[in-house]
């Protein structure tokens, strides 16, 4: 396999170029001083200033942040509970629960959008940020559970046992030993849930009511009608945000 190295490197380089070129192009052209955006006309920050004075865009960004913050908090709590219940304890119906838990991850997203829309309309809950939050909790807590459970499996059970032997109560041992050791996994999982929520388009698109537009739904509307370099500027901002989130998540989980 050694003699294939140059070929391997070339193929990998091509892959990385394929992955990054479009993003780099978007960012470069977000500084372009032209409406006919594919020709370079000189450096300008006008699309950024337009972006940050676009009221409806900013309000949908706020909506997205609210949805992501609330759903991440709830999903993290539910996900950690699930991981703790599945690891080290057993309960009736565990096998069924484990299969159902995987379904939100496995089934096509659009199916989930359809099911949620139908459900909320039928029970008469008006579409709002609340319905989007509920849906986001449901698709992200199984992911949190998966990540935290993997971390939990790697913990040495003797640490908690030692604490119990030394007279700690179960809660105390959990609070002072298990939870701190799990923390990097929990934070990593929460960041993942946050990103999943911030990025979700399809489910939010099905559930967005009047005045409850999230950022991706708004961006989609912009892409369907007029494409201006404002979208490039917005893309650049979003790319930078996700780079920061990934770096933080990787750094936290390495601990």
């Amino acid at each position: 396999m050694m003699k294939n190295r140059p070929w391997l490197a070339a193929a990998s380089l091509a892959d990385l170029l394929f992955l990054y070129m479009p993003i780099v192009i978007l960012i470069v052209f977000s500084f372009n001083d032209s409406r006919l955006s594919a020709r370079w006309q000189g450096f300008s920050l006008q699309w950024y200033s337009k972006l940050f004075s676009n009221e409806s865009l900013l309000s949908s960004a706020t909506n997205s942040l609210v949805v992501a913050a609330v759903s991440t908090t709830m999903a993290t709590v539910l996900g950690v509970l699930t991981a703790l219940a599945l690891e080290g304890r057993s309960f009736r119906g565990q096998a069924v629960f484990e299969v159902v838990l995987l379904l939100p991850i496995v089934i096509p997203e659009i199916m989930m959008g359809v099911a949620m829309l139908l459900f909320f309309v039928m029970i008469g809950l008006p579409l709002s940020l609340l319905t989007i939050i509920i849906a986001h909790i449901i698709f992200s807590f199984p992911v949190v559970a998966l990540i935290v459970r993997a971390r939990l499996r790697k913990l040495d059970p003797r640490l908690e046992e030692a604490a119990l032997d030394l007279g700690a109560t179960r809660w105390h041992a959990f609070r002072r030993i298990t939870l701190p050791l799990l923390m990097p996994g929990i934070i990593g999982a929460a960041l993942m849930a946050f990103t999943l929520s911030l990025d979700d388009f399809i489910i939010s698109f099905f559930l967005a009511g009047v005045g409850s537009t999230t950022l991706p739904v708004k961006v989609y509307g912009m892409l369907k009608t007029t494409v201006t370099p404002e979208v490039n500027a917005l893309s650049a901002v979003l790319v930078v945000i996700s780079m920061v989130l990934v770096t933080v998540a990787t750094w936290v989980q390495r601990k």
């Binding site: 479009p22 993003i23 978007l26 309960f91 559970a145 494409v227």
Partner: protein, 281 residues
């Protein structure tokens, strides 16, 4: 260290209740509605019928299912071919480089999907970057129709899901003991034999996981065919969205989504069974 106690039950009660109420129940509803019929004004009429399922057999819809299937298969195969060398290189790279290279794969994975799709709209449009460059250097004198084609959809899907292939492949290849490859070489295996007889079998769990992670979202794709494809590049996802949000035939939309979900689940189950990869780790 499994302890059977009642605490497990109390811990799992909140997640299990939420999952039942807001996930299982909605799915059951979709299933029920798929046997109802569309009311005059777009509502749901509870007359039991199989008509929504028989309508799917209409060649018009079967063609959409068929094209979604081949687009998803083609995308998966392309991701596998493109992703394998990269995953292998990362897995064999020195440790310091590994984490940096992995980060380079994870960043697009975490970047907004719409943004990444838009990047291709920007490049492929009639007045887009590629046409501008080609016109400038005089390679063409008429802008090419690149956007709103099958090719654009497949490029967009491969671009969108390549990281989903590379990450599980890397996880499997990283565990592969290099001594096995050396041993095969010492025993006079050609590099092709080393690949097909040693590397590929050991990478199988990664290949299986990667293919599932690419195939499942691709077959139900909505955004990519909607933004990069033309009116004739409809996939099942677009059809379901149309039935639900435009035509408002919820019973038919429900039947479509149930067939999609059922097909995916049965396909996944069969694939896992025949590929013999039990754990996806």
């Amino acid at each position: 260290m499994k302890v059977v106690d009642r605490k497990g039950f109390w811990l799992v009660l909140p997640p299990a209740t939420s999952l039942f109420l807001f996930f299982v129940l909605p799915l059951v509803l979709v299933f029920a509605v798929s046997f109802a019929s569309r009311g005059t004004y777009g509502g749901i009429e509870w007359t039991l019928t199989l008509q929504n399922y028989t309508s799917i057999l209409d060649p018009l819809y079967l063609r959409i299912f068929w094209r979604s299937l081949w687009i998803a298969v083609l995308t998966t195969v392309l991701c596998l071919l493109l992703g394998f060398p990269l995953a292998y290189l990362i897995a064999r790279a020195p440790k310091r480089w590994q984490s940096l290279l992995l980060l380079l794969i994870i960043i697009p994975f975490w970047t907004n999907f719409l943004v990444r799709t838009y990047a291709w709209m920007f490049i492929l449009r009639t007045e887009g970057l590629l046409n501008t460059i080609l016109l400038e250097i005089g390679l063409i004198d008429q802008p090419l129709n690149l956007l709103f084609t099958d090719t654009a959809v497949i490029i967009g899907l491969v671009y969108g899901y390549l990281p989903f292939m590379v990450l599980p492949l890397y996880a499997a290849l990283e565990r592969l003991d290099p001594a096995l490859i050396e041993a095969a070489g010492d025993l006079y295996a050609s590099s092709r034999q080393v690949f097909t007889r040693v590397i590929l079998p050991l990478a199988k769990p990664g290949v299986v996981a990667g293919c599932l992670l690419v195939f499942i979202p691709t077959i139900g794709a909505y955004v990519t065919p909607d933004l990069l494809g033309g009116a004739r590049t409809l996939m099942i996802g677009n059809l379901i969205q149309q039935q639900y949000l435009v035509i408002r035939d919820w019973p038919f939309g429900s039947a479509l989504s149930f067939v999609l979900m059922g097909g995916v689940l049965v396909g996944v189950w069969y694939y896992l069974k025949t590929s013999g990869a039990k754990s996806l780790g």
